[in-house]
Chain length 207, copies 2
């Protein structure tokens, strides 16, 4: 005998296919959804449908947006000479939260990853190349992909593709997080912090 | 400027109202849902709708089911003399997974909780009382509510309501979990394990 009825099992299966939702959480969510008011359940499903219908990619930066171009690309106060390249829309919100960066963005929607057969054309790198050609005012591309093998490979690819055009290509510094203990740092982070050490007196920064 | 477009913000708000989903997980889920194929997104929303439409409560045990009476209540091989009372449908599946209990269930869909103004009539206790009157073959009610103040209050209430009718009312043993270390047990569990200690030789079990 099945532990749950077919429609509940299907709901649990659908929920557990979402990222970060394991079997137990999916069960908990499913029974919560079954016990919801009709109004709340309707609000949940229509939020999913509405967000998917009204959300498109900004033709300029490829971020998810309701309006095209997105609020950041159409903001006259943003610095149009700098493009920060990130892997996902969530990374844009992380930078926006910090209120430090005033330039534009480009969302790759993925990284070069041969293991998952993600090639350059599965990302928006071709759109970025075209965007740079159309906007000669851009002087610097800051690559803010994650500090992973795939993120680094993507950064290297971008620097090779964009570098020859005379546009500066930089990468976010890697090293010890602020407030962290050296005792708990992993070997790769320590190595990268050591290689990227900054001169406090005497000579210039040695990269 | 809003960090996300209104429809995405609404989706994140809806998702973070679900149990166990915090702000970060809701963002992650929302962007996963936006990046889904149309087919997968349709499967998710229709699973929610279908499960809610086809799921009702079993008129006998009050568990969620597609068919009424539910597969457990209509199974001729189950022992009809024992009813195990649980707080939620998930608890039924926990017992079923253990393949030990062969009787019937009764799902309360809540517990007596004055703090959340949940009274007896917000649970299915009245249905249980009626069920016991209609089924004189029941000889024992095992109360398997959680080991919380509310679960204990509900168990006490049930024993007072059902006890006078001559039906045995029992409660799951509380004590140290199997395989646990005494060093890490909390005070209440230790106290309950001590009070419920079992005689290994000499006298009978001292409750």
């Amino acid at each position: 005998m099945a532990r749950y009825s077919p429609s509940i099992q299907n709901l649990i299966a659908q929920l557990s296919s979402l990222p970060g939702i394991g079997g137990k959480s999916a069960q908990r969510l499913a029974f919560h959804i079954l016990a919801m008011d009709d109004k709340d359940a309707e609000a949940l499903t229509s939020a999913i449908t509405a967000a998917r219908q009204s959300t498109k990619r900004c033709t300029c930066c490829q971020n998810f947006t309701d309006s095209d171009p997105c609020p950041i690309c159409s903001d006259p106060l943003r610095d149009k000479t700098t493009i920060l390249v990130v892997e996902s829309p969530r990374d844009v919100s992380t930078f926006e939260r910090a209120h430090e960066y005033k330039g534009l963005y480009h969302v790759l929607h993925g990284v070069f990853n041969p293991m998952k057969s993600m090639s350059i054309s599965d990302t928006t790198i071709p759109d970025l190349i075209k965007r740079l050609a159309d906007h000669p005012e851009v002087t610097e591309v800051i690559v803010a992909t994650n500090q992973t093998a795939e993120g680094n490979a993507t950064a290297l690819y971008l620097s090779r593709m964009v570098g020859p055009s005379g546009i500066k290509v930089s990468r976010l510094a890697s090293g010890l997080p602020m407030g962290s203990d050296i005792e708990y740092a992993d070997d790769l982070t320590l190595l990268s912090a050591l290689k990227g050490r900054v001169m406090l007196s005497g000579e210039n920064n040695e990269a």
